[in-house]
């Protein structure tokens, strides 16, 4: 019987190694997989590349990793959280290198990897500092930046409900980056509020089909 449930957060992130690339779901707090990230902190792994829209705040696992210098590179669109100082301090202290990518291009680069494509031509950022060093291609008279796929070794995802095949539903704006990240990593670990029987999820409303999911941890 196919059952993707795991018993602990440590088991969910098993295989994580120094130097890995982690795709980390969430937009601020909604959809952020707090328990899985705590397990990453506990794992001791470092030299990580983390793809996350934000830089973490308020004592989260991500900000702990960053503050202790274990994130070599943060690929994000908006690292700073309003009202929080921890990221700014770690950044000013040189503890993390930031690769700033426009928000829609982060998700599109991950989708590109998920969909098995070799890159895409983006109109975003053309002629700006964020396109420096990237190849520019002209198609039908318009300039585009060639953006390359962004694939993770491990995706950490927060969902609402799952079944044992790994089908997922999300809750409101906690969906955000999670579906695209789930589809763009070699291993996808998910924490969910609730596990339901196979067949209990609406087949029309599953936002992440189980094919993209490897391990599911129920955290409540």
């Amino acid at each position: 019987m196919l059952d993707k449930r795991v018993g602990s957060a440590a088991e969910a992130i098993a295989g994580l190694r120094d130097g890995a690339t982690i795709l980390l779901g969430g937009f601020g707090t909604p959809g952020y997989p707090a328990r899985l990230m705590d397990a990453v902190v506990a794992s001791g792994m470092g030299d990580l590349t983390v793809v996350s829209n934000n830089g973490g705040a308020n004592g989260s696992g991500l900000i702990k990793l960053i503050s202790t210098g274990r994130v070599r590179r943060l690929i994000c669109s908006f690292p700073q959280t309003a009202g929080a100082t921890e990221f700014q301090e770690a950044y000013a202290a040189g503890k993390v290198m930031v690769e700033l990518v426009p928000q829609g291009i982060i998700s599109e680069r991950m989708r590109c990897a998920a969909a098995g494509l070799g890159g895409f031509l983006s109109p975003v950022g053309v002629g700006t500092r964020l396109a420096e060093g990237k190849q520019v291609q002209n198609v039908n008279g318009r300039d585009y930046v060639l953006e390359l796929p962004l694939k993770g070794d491990l995706a950490l995802v927060r969902a609402d409900r799952a079944d044992r095949w790994g089908n997922l539903t999300y809750r409101k704006t906690a969906r955000n980056f999670n579906p695209v990240m789930a589809s763009a990593a070699a291993v996808t670990a998910v924490e969910v509020r609730e596990m339901v029987d196979l067949g209990a999820l609406d087949a029309e409303a599953v936002a992440t089909p189980g094919i993209f999911v490897d391990r599911v941890l129920v955290t409540g």
Partner: protein
């Protein structure tokens, strides 16, 4: 004359949003717009984190931590509102499906260039968010910003001094003193804060200006 407050600027920008428009509101003053959209107009708001069809939360409404806008503030979903993932959200943004993006900015040039993502402070990590996608992808980009910096320097420039978000994309600017449209390398002044003159605006602006023949006084019902 006292410049418009942030609320008053949000009010003014809201008046130009019409029934059936799909509108994205950037962080800063733009996210203050929803309560000022004239009653009865179904303007459908888009939030880049993955939502269409919401409005601000009323005072006594319960906060749902999983229901936030691009500024991570709690909001309320309207009947007909829907959720989707981030890749779909930016398909809407880049693909020309958003009628109007209302953005904050540090500076706008007379050619409609916008700079709103970094002030180049070497000690601070910059943040771009969805600004570049919105600036390039929305059918129309409008900016809400103070007319000048705290130090009194013009934000409407011949050329932006800060790194660009996108070139030549801004159509209309709502400032604390005026409403201006970008037209062929010059900003056309459509409305001037009641009690001020065109010369007052010229003195506070670096960009080339032209007075619209039908320029009207800029009046808001809130301070």
């Amino acid at each position: 004359m006292k410049p418009l407050s942030r609320n008053a600027m949000a009010w003014r920008a809201a008046q130009d949003l019409y029934e059936g428009m799909y509108v994205n509101l950037g962080i800063g003053v733009p996210v203050m717009v929803p309560p000022y959209i004239p009653a009865g107009r179904e303007v459908i708001l888009h939030s880049e984190n993955g939502m269409l069809g919401f409005t601000g939360l009323g005072k006594d409404e319960v906060v749902d931590p999983d229901l936030v806008n691009a500024a991570k503030e709690p909001v309320r979903l309207l009947p007909g509102g829907v959720f989707f993932d981030h890749a779909t959200s930016f398909t809407m943004i880049r693909g020309g499906h958003i009628d109007v993006a209302l953005l904050g900015a540090f500076e706008v040039s007379e050619r409609g260039d916008i700079a709103n993502w970094t002030v180049d402070d070497p000690g601070r990590a910059p943040g771009v968010g969805g600004a570049m996608d919105l600036a390039v992808g929305a059918r129309e980009v409008r900016v809400i910003m103070e007319h000048t910096t705290r130090e009194g320097e013009p934000r409407l420039r011949k050329t932006c001094r800060y790194p660009l978000t996108a070139a030549g994309v801004v159509k209309r600017i709502y400032t604390s003193l005026a409403v201006l449209d970008v037209a062929d390398g010059v900003l056309v002044v459509r409305e001037i804060l009641e009690g001020m003159t065109f010369d007052d605006i010229v003195q506070r602006t670096e960009a080339a200006l032209r007075l619209a023949p039908d320029c009207r006084p800029l009046r808001t019902p809130i301070a």
